[in-house]
């Protein structure tokens, strides 16, 4: 159904779909994909050759055989596994907390009429507009005051529930969770939490997949906040460790590139696993705004 509609307004939007036009469009798209993916290819090339190769003219355009050697150098020079571990913990725990708290709040907002619901939701939307960088300094001071500066708590707790996720999940819950189903559950004696856990959550799955991947990616890639708050140089996230590696060994390109590759790969794998669902939901979210 959707595909049919796409097809029929597609031809119209672009104009006449002659054979040459179609081929030209496909060639243009392929070129675009090449540009889009080239930096990754180039990263692989640089991570698998020596620094001399990187600096040589004409540049070496094919991958070499130094990848393992360069990766071993990365592990040797920075505490790669500690920072990888930190990042994995922050991204995983942070994502699970966001999924739980956001869907729970969205469930209440979408399906329960409690006094003050409208006002509270309005406040939630208003807080969503505040830019994060506005209070970078006091956020850091707050963390230092709690004694959390330099700990993973500082990276996980403040974002454990967020306005974007609640807003987005609520939109989803309103459309996808029939009241009849909840009524049936109530007749069976299920309370709020059991209705949430056994009826709502399974139906939220597609929305949770989107929010989960989105949150995981943002937590994995976050840079300015860990840079500010992870005050102990031995205990940082992957992004900060990579930036430090780049500073400390900036003449040793090949090793820095191997580190960059090692920090990018796990995320690309996660993304490719959930990509289809994610992109469908991303598109749906944008048009509903």
């Amino acid at each position: 159904m959707a595909a049919e509609r796409t097809a029929s307004n597609a031809g119209l939007a672009i104009g006449a779909g002659s054979r040459t036009t179609r081929i030209a469009v496909r060639v243009a798209l392929l070129l675009g994909v090449l540009v889009s993916l080239f930096p990754f290819y180039w990263l692989v090339v640089m991570a698998s050759v020596t620094t001399q190769d990187i600096l040589a003219y004409p540049p070496r355009l094919l991958p070499g055989g130094q990848l393992l050697h360069n990766m071993r150098e990365v592990i040797h020079r920075i505490d790669f596994f500690t920072s990888l571990f930190n990042t994995v913990v922050v991204a995983t725990v942070g994502t699970l907390l966001v999924l739980f708290f956001d869907s729970l709040a969205a469930f209440a907002f979408a399906k329960y009429a409690f006094p003050g619901r409208k006002l509270l939701f309005g406040i939630l939307l208003a807080t969503y507009m505040i830019p994060a960088q506005l209070s970078l300094v006091p956020q850091f001071v707050t963390m230092a005051h709690f004694g959390w500066a330099g700990t993973l708590k500082a990276l996980i707790v403040p974002g454990a529930a967020n306005a974007f996720g609640i807003f987005w999940m609520r939109q989803y819950a309103q459309n996808s969770l029939p009241d009849e189903l909840l009524d049936a559950g109530r007749i069976d004696g299920a309370g709020f939490f059991r209705l949430y856990w056994q009826v709502a959550l399974p139906l939220f799955r597609p929305a949770l997949a989107f929010l989960g991947i989105f949150t995981f990616i943002s937590l994995w890639n976050d840079y300015i906040w860990p840079l500010v708050v992870m005050v102990n140089p031995d205990k940082v996230t992957l992004q900060v460790a990579l930036a430090n590696l780049n500073v400390a060994y900036n003449t040793d390109y090949a090793v820095v590139m191997a580190g960059a590759l090692m920090s990018v790969l796990p995320l690309i794998v996660v993304f490719l696993i959930g990509a289809r669902q994610f992109l469908r939901d991303l598109a749906a979210g944008a048009t509903k705004m």
Binding site: D102, I130, Q133, F192, F193, I224, N250
Partner: protein, 332 residues
């Protein structure tokens, strides 16, 4: 959570009896309040309090360790007389302009091209979206090497006999290099958003317009663009908010042990957030950093409003609606 679950099931079962008494009513809604409370608690501690505190801080002189000294509006006064701040503001606007305009135009074209493809549509989307998924730090390092004096970009120039460009040394070079990174990262993302908007346009609109003899040009400007307006507005606003907070690219590009190199040669890559970070966490001028945060907020708010006006102001109706569309179609 077990406690919440217990309370809730008890409350729900006995609902009709309890509902009469005010205390029972509260008890009945308790699970809902408990469910939404984590966000508000977290926001109070890690959102609202810091925002209030930053306003207070912006009137103080404080290095984070010693005593605070009240200085009134002086931080703002110094800020407005700080040439680096103005330079950073200008740089931020220039980079924002150099990146956002080509990015949104490319994304729009890309969305149309993608829209015409009925095969492999998922593969196309994944390929174009991947840049947005990857770590900015890692990719900035890659681009930094591509744009180095003897990097790939200049090697290409050399291969065709052209002079090299001072990508990381000249004013325009630095801004273009950062803008290219931003464009690369965000074109696919915005194209997918535009694509979703395109796919949401009802086919009836096209048919009606075609029956009325509209050509492709008229279809584009009379049907597609007006229908896309809300989506374009969304993309413009988010690009503005993100674009005015550029930090990672210039920070990583010119990061070194020496804080003096921040922003690169001539500080041409110094952006507001980078300057805020440097003043706060290198120079430990917390009050100054807080004041800068508020000015940044004001600038972003102003820009978001201007954009909103520009993009939505000229339209008669933003909402996709078949009745209106059909009417328009017949009218022409």
């Amino acid at each position: 959570m077990a406690a919440v679950a217990q309370t809730s099931s008890a409350a729900d079962v006995t609902e009709p009896v309890r509902a009469r008494a005010p205390r029972g009513r509260l008890r009945r809604h308790l699970p809902s309040y408990a469910a939404i409370s984590p966000y508000y608690l977290l926001f109070a501690v890690f959102g609202a309090f810091p925002v209030g505190f930053s306003l207070y801080l912006s009137f103080q002189d404080w290095d984070g360790i010693g005593d605070m000294k009240f200085v009134g509006f002086r931080q703002y006064y110094w800020l407005l007389h700080d040439s680096v701040f103005w330079h950073a503001l200008l740089n931020t606007f220039e980079i924002w302009f150099l990146s956002t305009v080509p990015m949104l135009l490319l994304a729009l074209v890309l969305a149309f091209l993608l829209h015409s493809q009925t095969r492999f549509s998922a593969a196309w989307r994944v390929a174009y979206f991947i840049p947005n998924v990857t770590s900015m730090v890692a990719m900035t390092i890659v681009f930094g090497s591509v744009f180095a004096q003897a990097g790939l970009a200049n090697s290409l120039f050399k291969a065709v006999g052209a002079d090299g460009v001072g990508w990381l040394t000249s004013a325009l070079g630095i801004k273009s290099a950062i803008a290219i990174m931003i464009i690369w990262r965000w074109v696919g993302y915005n194209a997918l958003i535009f694509l979703a908007g395109l796919q949401a346009i009802p086919t009836e609109l096209f048919e009606a317009a075609r029956v009325d003899g509209a050509n492709s040009r008229q279809l584009l400007f009379r049907v597609v663009v007006p229908q896309l307006r809300p989506v374009i507005l969304f993309a413009v606003i988010t690009s503005t908010i993100n674009g005015l907070q550029i930090f990672t690219e210039p920070q990583v590009l010119f990061y070194s042990d020496d804080p003096g190199t921040a922003g690169g040669p001539g500080q041409e890559g110094m952006t507001i957030v980078l300057y805020l970070w440097q003043k706060s966490f290198n120079d430990l001028q917390f009050g100054y950093g807080a004041a800068m945060g508020w000015l940044l907020f004001a600038v972003i708010a102003l820009f978001a409003i201007i954009n909103w006006r520009l993009v939505s102001g000229s339209g008669r109706d933003d909402r996709p609606g078949i009745p209106l569309g059909k009417e328009t179609g017949r009218g022409r």
